[in-house]
């Protein structure tokens, strides 16, 4: 009699087996990307640097993305901005300098005309000058379908020497200096583990001619902290070859040193100040607020900035701070 139940059981098992199709079909593993959001985002940077002199940058955001940047100078004229171009898989941010499109002689002449017309001090020369927006930095961000950044292409320009010349040889357009294209690969913890870089130095006369070098960084993490950063380059005609390895030392969960071949960077903490010394020569000092944001920066080269923040996530650092910079100095503007 008991056999009956055993048989029923057996049959039920076999039935289950017969209808079990699922076990033979493996669902593909999809990389689940969880972005790391910042708690605060920069709204204002004021300071002086060698290119802009005294300046203030004001940032605006829309849905956690940069929507506008305005730059004003010592006399509060708006002298720079940002251009944003969107396409299906990328966004290009162009940080622009607004510069006169006429030479110095013409500017003086205009000044004289306006002065004669309105009297000295009764007009704004800057407002009357014809201007052109020239990109000093152009970054294109390519995103994957899961929202992670796939590639970042940063083009760095420099002002034209001929903008100081008068007459026929005057030219104001900025010259493309370098293009750095970085492609990111992520690990399962959504950290960038590999960064593949194409670094092009452009010919000043013909920007289509460039000298390209290839680099790669591989980052090893311990939890969320970087343990090592290995640098690779490609000697002519070969493949990626390791040439430097940075080891990260922590004390009390704070980064204290990065050591590599011919490279040392130390981080010394004192109250709300961090002193970053690179190769025993360059010293930069950062002041942090209670939330750990950098509110004051002195890079030891004459550039001093004060930074203000508001709560919320913004992509300022994704666009303007390169990943290798972020990985070798945690004190950057977010």
């Amino acid at each position: 009699m008991k056999y009956k139940y055993i048989i029923y059981l057996l049959v039920c098992i076999m039935v289950t087996v017969a209808c079990n199709e699922e076990s033979k079909y493996n669902t593909p593993d999809e990389f689940q990307y969880s972005p790391k959001k910042n708690a605060f985002r920069v709204t204002k940077i004021s300071g002086t640097n060698s290119h802009w002199g005294k300046f203030t940058l004001t940032m605006e955001y829309d849905k956690e993305e940069l929507s506008n940047i305005t730059r004003t100078n010592a006399t509060n004229d708006t002298v720079g901005g940002i251009g944003i171009i969107r396409s299906t898989s990328s966004i290009t941010y162009e940080l622009q300098d607004w510069i006169p499109s006429i030479d110095n002689d013409s500017i003086h002449r205009m000044d004289s005309i306006l002065s004669a017309k309105y009297g000295t001090g009764n007009y704004q020369l800057w407002d009357s000058l014809p201007k052109s927006a020239q990109a000093i930095l152009r970054t294109t961000v390519y995103t994957n379908t899961n929202g992670s950044i796939k590639k970042l292409s940063i083009q760095s320009y420099q002002p034209n020497e001929k903008s100081e010349v008068v007459g026929d040889d005057f030219a104001y357009n900025y010259i493309l200096k370098t293009t750095t294209a970085s492609t990111y690969e992520y690990d399962v913890n959504s950290n960038i583990c590999i960064n593949r870089i194409m670094y092009d130095v452009h010919d000043p006369v013909d920007k289509e001619i460039y000298e390209r070098s290839l680099y790669k960084t591989e980052t090893e993490y311990g939890g969320d902290k970087i343990k090592t950063l290995t640098w690779f380059t490609v000697p002519g005609g070969a493949g990626f070859t390791e040439y430097n390895r940075y080891n990260y030392t922590y004390n009390d969960n704070r980064l204290t040193a990065i050591n590599g071949t011919d490279f040392t960077r130390t981080f010394t903490y004192s109250g709300n100040q961090v002193t970053v010394k690179t190769n025993n020569s360059e010293v930069a000092i950062y002041e942090l607020d209670s939330n750990g944001n950098v509110v004051k920066m002195d890079d030891g080269k004459g550039n001093v900035y004060t930074i203000e923040y508001e709560p919320g996530h913004g992509n300022f650092s994704h666009v303007f701070v390169s990943v290798s910079e972020q990985m070798t100095n945690p004190f950057f503007i977010k």
Binding site: Y3, I7, L10, V17, A18
Partner: protein, 252 residues
Amino acid sequence: MKFNVFIGCLALVSFLFGSCEREGVTMYEESPTVYFGESYRSYTFVENMDRIKIGFDTIKLPLQISGSAVDRVREVVMEAVLDDTLHTAEADMFSVGKGCIEANEYKGYIPLRVNYLRVLDDSVYQIRLRLVANKDFPGVDLYGYTFTVSLTNKLTQPSNWSRIKNYFGPYSNSWYRFILETTGLTSIPYWSTNGSSDKNNPDPERWTMTLYEVKAYAAMVKVALEDYNRKHPQDPLKHEDGEEKGKPVTMP
């Protein structure tokens, strides 16, 4: 009743797992065949006088296959047809070597060693050969073709004369000797237009001459013939043997 249940379960089991088999795809199996690339080769020590001193030479008889190339070496076996009445060579005049079709190839060679003997000076001997089926090639020469190698030290009509007849005219031993003396060649190894690189060349290592070189040599011989006839106005050069014996030599 228990027995019935047992059978029922068995049926279930075979029912369930019988359909898990997937039918394999059966491959098409061919029967590879090997056969000779030509049917006749003449070998004369006249053209290879340096081999007389050494005492022997090796002829490579060309082979071709039907069926696909495979990725391993396949052996080919050949034997003399001793009971063929046309087989006149003596045993010490030759020995059959080991032949093969190399991996991934459609052609190959089987070597035949021929030995120099005095008797070859004024006679021509025939070696009749055939391919033998073996495990690599279960099929050989479906029509039972035999390969003939004619062996001598006498001057004989080269096996490719049909390919150069249009440039040198009909054959005779005396005319061939005149050609070889004029050109300084020991043979005219021409088979197809582009020589060794020609697709239709059955033995690129042997038939190395291009059509253009044949024409150049023919022009050279034509001038020599013209010269000879001018020097012997009443007595032009004639064929001294063969089918054209007695007739004056003509070139197309």
